[in-house]
Symmetry: C2
DNA sequence: TATTGTTATACTCTATAACTATA
DNA sequence: TATAGTTATAGAGTATAACAATA
């Protein structure tokens, strides 16, 4: 009853320029809108995985291990997300950073604004393309990145502790094979 | 430069009532604040998993398979999240729903408001505890839930297609063992 | 008094549209 | 003209604080 508007703000450029920033290697768009070809929709395996994921989701500490970090650092998930990519990738065009985080170029501006206000990120112009803006962590930002990185490691360690060594190895092998498959069939966007 | 405030809005009741809605079986609070006991922090395994996850994160289609659904259905991630839990659990106290989605009671009110405006959710009073409000899907909400559920299945199927059958079985076994462990060491909150 | 939700307020996230500067 | 970002605007998510109704 607070806001009379019935339509959420989430809206995507579907009519205008296709080549904006939403282009991915997986372009099915509506995914499964109403056009469910009954052959390749869901399978017993996918439904089994779905059910397992729902069960796991009931354990909140598994679901969002970053939540505690957000609280203790007084940062929003999006801000943490942006910091982590900057720490992992080094200086990055803000447009690319937007892709990484999964938001639009218009939105990344405000996010970087606030990170800059907090002295965690710096903006500089790209000398080679004067239009482009490069974002990079400040010294303080790097320190925070390292701290968060260790927090994530610790969270992952606690998850791994739930698995016997054999299963841990199986998991690693499995993920590595997925990555190999992905690398063969497509490219990570704009790496 | 937009807003002069340097502090983000994310803030959690750390001083007030402990038993609000943030209580989990993993109560380390600050997680790794500054008190990193060097023994049980990160391990080679956790760092390896961390690295693998970062690599996977570069593939955006893997990272947020729900993104396409949000777009096509014109709903926000939080709204989808709430709908999915209502579909999976049936009529639910809005406070419990807040726990599931991972937001506070104050916030869930607005989310349910908007879902109610969209005629996807209904509110009723719990007859046994007149204080409590029960949220449940409308007929239209159930239809949407089924549609989204199938979309998720399809996304999962595409991920599973990246793995040979052996690895799929390994993954299932692995997840089931994690669930078993979790069930032994703790309870899913308020199930 | 304690608990369940809601209301009021403020800030962040997010997208669309219009704009500036550079290629 | 096309591309990289920013500004302006509006709606949704989120938390804190204060409040109402019920136990």
């Amino acid at each position: 009853m607070r806001v009379p508007a019935n339509r959420p703000a989430l809206r995507v450029q579907s009519g205008g320029g296709v080549g904006e920033e939403e282009l991915e290697f997986n372009e099915e768009g509506g995914v499964t809108d109403d056009s469910l070809s009954p052959e390749d929709a869901s399978t017993p395996s996918s439904r089994r995985l779905h059910e397992l994921i729902i069960q796991l989701g009931r354990y909140r500490s598994l679901r969002d291990p970053l939540h505690g970090i957000c609280e203790s650092k007084q940062l929003t998930p999006t801000q943490i997300h942006a910091l982590m990519w900057l720490g992992n990738d080094g200086p990055t065009h803000v447009g690319v950073l937007a892709q990484r985080v999964g938001i639009t170029k218009k939105t990344i501006t405000g996010v970087v604004d606030r990170l800059e206000d907090m002295k965690l990120v710096e903006r500089t112009r790209d000398a080679e393309d004067r239009r482009a803006v490069v974002a990079q962590l400040t010294t303080e930002g790097v320190k925070l990145f390292n701290l968060i990185s260790r927090s994530v490691d610790e969270g992952l360690r606690r998850m791994l502790d739930l698995l016997p060594p054999d299963d841990q190895e199986a998991l690693f092998g499995l993920l590595e094979r997925v990555l190999k498959r992905l690398g063969e069939s497509s490219e990570p966007q704009s790496l």
